[in-house]
């Protein structure tokens, strides 16, 4: 089971993410959109949209540091484990609050108004469920481990992070995931589900969102194109 979830699935997810996204770009760019629903009614979007995205960026940044800056490095520069976790929580807790609040408001707006249904497909529904689970397990797990409920010797920087790096180095070490609490295991699985959903859902707009500023700053204001 572990082998399936933490050896095979990550590669399947990565393949779907990259291959699927490329396929959608070449074959079905016409459906590639941010799927904004602002037109149908603004509602709480003014607060909820930015709140959710800011929370997301903060969480993403935290994950990148947590996953890719090895413990040996922070130990080397003399940052104590305790200090590291305080910093991580200092960023993580606000991020979690923003995310949860933003997500709640967005979902309320989406499922409250009849009109919003026309902008919500089945795949959107699945995506929201997975996102909900991802946020709940991620934020929940972080809080639980902060108050020590996940056991004293659990430290994601000694199991999940090296496991992820081992997967990316193409020599997956499944034993690292053995003693990870179930809540984080679910979190990791949700992350992979999100990757699989990425090419077939509105999530593709993340790429466009990153590219849009580049495009906007690089190009001349008026574009001329030949037929």
């Amino acid at each position: 089971m572990s082998n399936l979830f933490f050896v095979a699935l990550p590669y399947i997810a990565l393949t779907v993410l990259i291959g699927g996204t490329a396929y959608r770009y070449w074959k079905d760019e016409r459906s590639w959109t941010s799927k904004s629903s602002e037109f149908l009614g603004k509602g709480s979007l003014k607060i909820a949209g930015p709140l959710f995205h800011v929370g997301l960026f903060m969480a993403l940044g935290g994950h990148i540091i947590g996953m890719f800056v090895p413990k040996s490095f922070t130990d080397g520069v003399g940052l104590s484990e305790h200090a590291y976790h305080m910093i991580a929580l200092g960023g993580g807790i606000p991020a979690g609050i923003f995310l949860c609040l933003g997500f709640f408001l967005l979902m309320h707006r989406r499922f409250d108004k009849a009109r919003m249904k026309v902008n919500t497909s089945l795949i959107d529904g699945v995506l929201y469920a997975v996102l909900f689970l991802t946020i709940a397990t991620g934020f929940g797990g972080t809080l639980l481990s902060a108050v020590g409920l996940l056991g004293d010797d659990f430290n994601y920087r000694e199991c999940i992070s090296p496991w992820l790096r081992s997967v990316l180095m193409l020599s997956p070490d499944v034993s690292l995931m053995e003693n990870v609490p179930i809540i984080f295991k679910i979190h990791v699985l949700c992350a992979m589900a999100t990757m699989i959903l990425f090419p077939i859902s509105r999530l593709v707009h993340c790429i466009s969102g990153v590219l849009a500023p580049v495009e906007l700053f690089m190009r001349s204001p008026i574009i001329y194109r030949r037929k």
Binding site: W32, K42, K117, V118, I222, I223, Y224, R225
Partner: protein, 473 residues
């Protein structure tokens, strides 16, 4: 000088009868799809009135078009950085309510209703949610009203303050058909974060590439004329295409073709691309129109022709430019004006301001009043077409009045009045083009964009289905 060709349109407002045929034919061709029900690439509004979407002219609210910032041109919607923040939430994005909620009726109940004491009724149903709805506003709710709340809410009237009282005896109205202006300095193009909107090299038509559009919806508030629309089904932006598949075959847009009042003229303008920015930057908004005229170049000037050839403009397009009715009206007789030049997008759909109704008061027995005494206040027309420069409006109205005077004198056998701006024969030509011109004289478009002549295209008739008109596939 860098010459480019632009397909342009002139509308002679004196002749618009407000029949909405243009809107309907356009809708039947372009926007009768799910997601686009509420869109009118072409709409006709009654002025004074709020228009479609409601209050579109109020740039304090929508932040459309350009503004001068210390001599530099910048989008009203904000700097590049602030626009990137607007990716997450766009404060100026119009909502469905600003247009109207499209609906249909339950026609079936008329047939399937059991026998009852009363006639069955077809009740309205939203085309968006498919639920029953109450109709509160529609695309032409204030059609022909001219008075009342809607007229009072007209931004142009508000700008004039108390100068124009909406006393019943003074009430005036006119129609304003509007489609995308295919601007020379389009704000929609500049605002798009993904570079999806572009101006075509060949004919200046502004199009949204449906593949590249990511639904960031920045073009929609940015267009000061609110002529880009958000398709709630495909989640992409759509706009008037000037019927480019028709243009490519030498045919005018559908709205022009079907115009009942024959108010629309289409043809080629040659313009100097390098002069566009300076015209848009004109410091005094009242002078933008005058500078726009300088951007348009004389198609019979050998220097211009030489430059145009260098820029790769085909002979077919050059020939069409030489006989262009829109050039004659815009630059030749200076009769047509751009709508709201102060938005600084340099629109390429031009309007001949209306004279009629000719007498201000019913009791006035004059045949032709002077240009200040029209029923539609000159100041109001100036708000619409010249950034409140009444001088230009008076000049244009005078030319139109002179034309009428010359033609009247001719009919009754009197000699022409003295001190006219043009020769009498020029007024006769003007009368012919504005008054009685046939389709082929109002519309002069080259068929060269596909490299095929009209004759070759005729041979292709019927050889292809709807998916590939003109036999392109």
């Amino acid at each position: 000088m860098k010459i480019k060709a632009q397909v342009s349109m002139v509308m002679n407002l004196d002749k618009c009868i407000g029949c909405h045929t243009c809107s309907i034919t356009c809708k039947n061709v372009w926007t009768n799809r799910p997601g686009a029900e509420y869109m009118y690439f072409n709409n006709v509004e009654t002025k004074p009135g709020v228009g479609y979407p409601r209050g579109w002219e109020n740039q304090e609210k929508w932040k459309g078009g350009w503004e001068l910032d210390g001599g530099d041109l910048k989008l009203r919607t904000g700097s590049k950085l602030s626009r990137i923040l607007k990716l997450f939430y766009h404060p100026e994005q119009p909502e469905l309510e600003d247009y109207y909620e499209p609906w249909t009726y339950d026609y079936e109940t008329l047939i399937t209703s059991p026998r009852r004491k009363h006639q069955p009724v077809a009740r309205p149903r939203s085309l968006i949610t498919q639920r029953r709805m109450e109709i509160k506003w529609g695309p032409n709710w204030d059609d022909d009203l001219a008075g009342g709340d809607s007229a009072r809410a007209d931004v142009n009237l508000k700008k004039l303050g108390h100068e124009i009282a909406l006393e019943f005896s003074d009430i005036f109205m006119k129609y304003l058909p509007r489609n995308c202006n295919h601007c020379l300095n389009p704000a929609c193009v500049a605002a798009c974060p993904s570079g999806a909107i572009y101006k075509r090299e060949e004919d200046g038509v502004v199009l949204v590439n449906q593949d590249i559009c990511r639904g960031w919806r920045h073009c929609i508030p940015s267009c000061p004329y609110k002529k880009v629309f958000y398709n709630w089904k495909t989640n992409k932006a759509e706009k008037c295409t000037f019927c480019y598949p028709r243009l490519e075959n030498g045919l005018p847009s559908v709205c022009t073709d079907t115009c009942v009042g024959r108010i629309r003229y289409m043809g080629i303008l040659l313009y100097d691309m390098e002069a566009v920015l300076d015209a848009a930057k004109t410091s005094d908004p009242k002078m933008i129109y005058t500078h726009m005229l300088d951007v348009i170049k004389d198609p019979n000037d050998p220097a211009v022709i030489e430059e145009a050839r260098k820029a790769g403009i085909s002979e077919a397009v050059l020939n069409a430019a030489k006989i262009s009715p829109v050039y004659q009206i815009i630059r030749g007789w200076k009769l047509a004006l751009p709508l709201h030049p102060e938005f600084r997008t340099l629109p390429m759909v031009w309007y001949i301001p209306p004279l009629s109704p000719i007498a201000k008061n019913f009791e006035d027995k004059v045949y032709l009043p002077n240009s200040e005494a029209m029923r539609i206040p000159v100041a109001y027309l100036a708000e619409l077409f010249t950034a409140s420069n009444t001088q230009i409006i008076l000049q244009v109205l005078q030319r139109l009045l002179d034309m009428r005077t010359v033609m009247r004198r001719k009919e009754v056998g009197e000699s022409a009045p003295q001190g006219l701006e043009f020769d009498t024969c020029e007024y006769e030509k003007m009368y012919k083009l504005l008054g009685i011109a046939k389709y082929s004289e109002r519309i002069k478009l080259p068929a060269g964009l596909q490299g095929k002549t009209h004759e070759q295209l005729r041979e292709l008739q019927g050889s292809a289905g709807y998916v590939c008109p003109g036999g392109c596939c």
